[in-house]
Chain length 452, copies 2
Amino acid sequence: MADRVLVIGADAAGMSAASQALRSAKAAGRSLEVIAVDRGHWTSYSACGIPYWIAGDVPSPGALVARSPDEHRANGIDVRLVTEAVALDTDAGWVEVVDHAAGRTERIGYDELVIATGAAPVRPDVPGAGAAGIHGVQTLDDGAAVLESLARPPERAVVVGAGYIGLEMAEAMVRRGLAVTVVDRGEEPMNTLDPDLGTQVHAAMERMGIDVVTSAAVTAFETGPGGAVTAIVTDAGTYPADIVVLGTGVRPATGLARAAGLPLGPSGGLRTDDTQRVADGVWSAGDCVETWDRVRRDWVHVPLGTHANKQGRVLGTNLGGGQARFPGIVGTALTKVCDLELARTGLTEGDAVAAGLDHVAVTIESTTRSGYFPGTRPITVKMVAERPTGRLLGAQIVGRDGSAKRIDVCAMALWTELTVGELAMTDLAYAPPFSSVWDPVQIAARKAADRL
Amino acid sequence: MADRVLVIGADAAGMSAASQALRSAKAAGRSLEVIAVDRGHWTSYSACGIPYWIAGDVPSPGALVARSPDEHRANGIDVRLVTEAVALDTDAGWVEVVDHAAGRTERIGYDELVIATGAAPVRPDVPGAGAAGIHGVQTLDDGAAVLESLARPPERAVVVGAGYIGLEMAEAMVRRGLAVTVVDRGEEPMNTLDPDLGTQVHAAMERMGIDVVTSAAVTAFETGPGGAVTAIVTDAGTYPADIVVLGTGVRPATGLARAAGLPLGPSGGLRTDDTQRVADGVWSAGDCVETWDRVRRDWVHVPLGTHANKQGRVLGTNLGGGQARFPGIVGTALTKVCDLELARTGLTEGDAVAAGLDHVAVTIESTTRSGYFPGTRPITVKMVAERPTGRLLGAQIVGRDGSAKRIDVCAMALWTELTVGELAMTDLAYAPPFSSVWDPVQIAARKAADRL
């Protein structure tokens, strides 16, 4: 009889795992029965695309779906939507699920369990935080709720948190015609960059017409007679709001796993080995796990689709009988705010200081193409290197068109533990329409090497 | 008394070396006298920018000059232009130079010699190859000669050779309104790519209105009564031409070095150690040297500005008393043809076959942004990996906006000898405006790993 695999969570990690498990098992001559349950209405979608759907760049949620439930079913996966896992017994090997459509509860037994329950937005622990009109942006269903609100239409939006989702949602709502305020606790927006680069993000937000409030902590949400949010109260002032979007980060959705006594790290994320195995017959991947950071040499919670997809694939390969390992991350991420691109990998200067690492930090200004080439744009690169070894610790890039993806070169250098001196001499592509003769990344590396 | 450094050739390699030697000597408390001679009229210019100057993207040759003769003089370098080195005695330590402006010949003694004589266009060894109207494109003076011809104006241009310079010059002349034919010996244009990707280049050239003639060898140039070229004769037909541009590659300009008995490789390029030292008191860098290829594990002649700048800097650091080494190259290059970007690094499939390496080659089609994101464009990635080790051997990219600079990730993987399996799992930046969730480079690496 075929082993039964039960997948909780039918987004990137879960469905990558399910699909790859079937491929891997087939290659190994094994037969698997795969059931995937999800409390939402969708499978395999790009959560990262939600702000662009809300902005109007993407016409419909369907466009964000890489593979629909029916496509998965055609591949032999028993997908059950609007079906929530509510209890887990890893000793007995079953999960209790509620089919909200049918109003039915049942226990599904499994031989192998895949926990891909993702993450949930953090709600500030202040009065009124549960009010109507306050939205997290984590699932397509969340996105639909925001769009439904925008149809009313509201006039004033407040975004709490100036990280990736906060910036993207702020821009989306500006483009929808709302007056947008972004409130953040940090000195500058985008605290995954050092504040000296955050100032450029701040300026770009203001150029777009966003009201940026920094160094402000939320203390309450005010609500109106109907119970909906009407204003956000911070220690820097009160801001009226018809709609509030939370960009305050997410936490691993690991309540079931915690109750079942599975191993969690300090972030609340599941701890796996590098095959994505949690325990005998239990696997996990995606936003609900902690991931090994090769630069920090520590476990971190970094909920990104790119890791979820890779981990899901590794998980499925191993579950199906093949061999793969997830080798960790170096902390690469990027986004754009209007015409400003921003990217980072590894440690910021702030991170290096906090970690007590002896280091140098340098910042250079250059251009995305040869200085004389039409369409050349400014780019700022900041680089942090360990002293005295010269090992690259991290890089940050802020600039216009053609800037941010250059972070990949730094990510590769971190991955392979190059020194900044070595990075400065690598063979990167040069032609006037694409780069200065020393790539901006190498100008920064060279300057860091000179300073060491 | 200060040691005297004599630099022959005042472009990228020579002047990088000269400037860095002064900085390095200053740091070491040494005093240097630096003389730089060049037979042309310019210093430190971007030869790679010449096609864009001719196309009209760049307004004047001055825009291509990174540092003018007077700027170098202000930094303490004795720059002597229109001054040609004609003889060299390394035992006695002098160079004989002709100052063509003053009509004077003199011998300049040196303590340290820097040979940065660059490369010269290869002229086909056929009748008429010396005719007026046939232009190489290697120096700003060459560029000025082409522009002077275009002012006449000619109507029909033939470009010989469909490599980087050939393609860029063909596009420049199309944009100048000429009817352009490109003649190449290869099966497809751009023979530093495999022919299966070369077909895309071929199609892009034809979309621009270029007449592309492949598998054709030049057998003669026909000339008119005034001695100027009128047609190009090939084994595939005869093509009328008012102007001919040679994109047939360049050879190291090492006549002086050869006569002086300095060590040359099979390409005619000088052999240096990794400090850019040729012999006692003799140094060299740039288009006149051979360079160590880390993938081929052999010496190659790759005349590119990016290597010239890096080698010049390494040379200057060592000459001045510091320590630096040039670690070699992996064969990275890129350009664009109209809206098609193309890039390569390492070995092509053809190279792997020629080298007798057991390998796999895969090609994937993907998009530059998330498939659903506005402005996403097609990209093709071809990857070659060694069997059975899985080590990446090379990559080629052809695609639209945002494609070609991704080659840098492959160059970094080659540099650090990653396997395609490792490359597929590295932490590259993802967000919908910048990439699919698996970067196209990683999709190719994954496919190659699966095939191994």
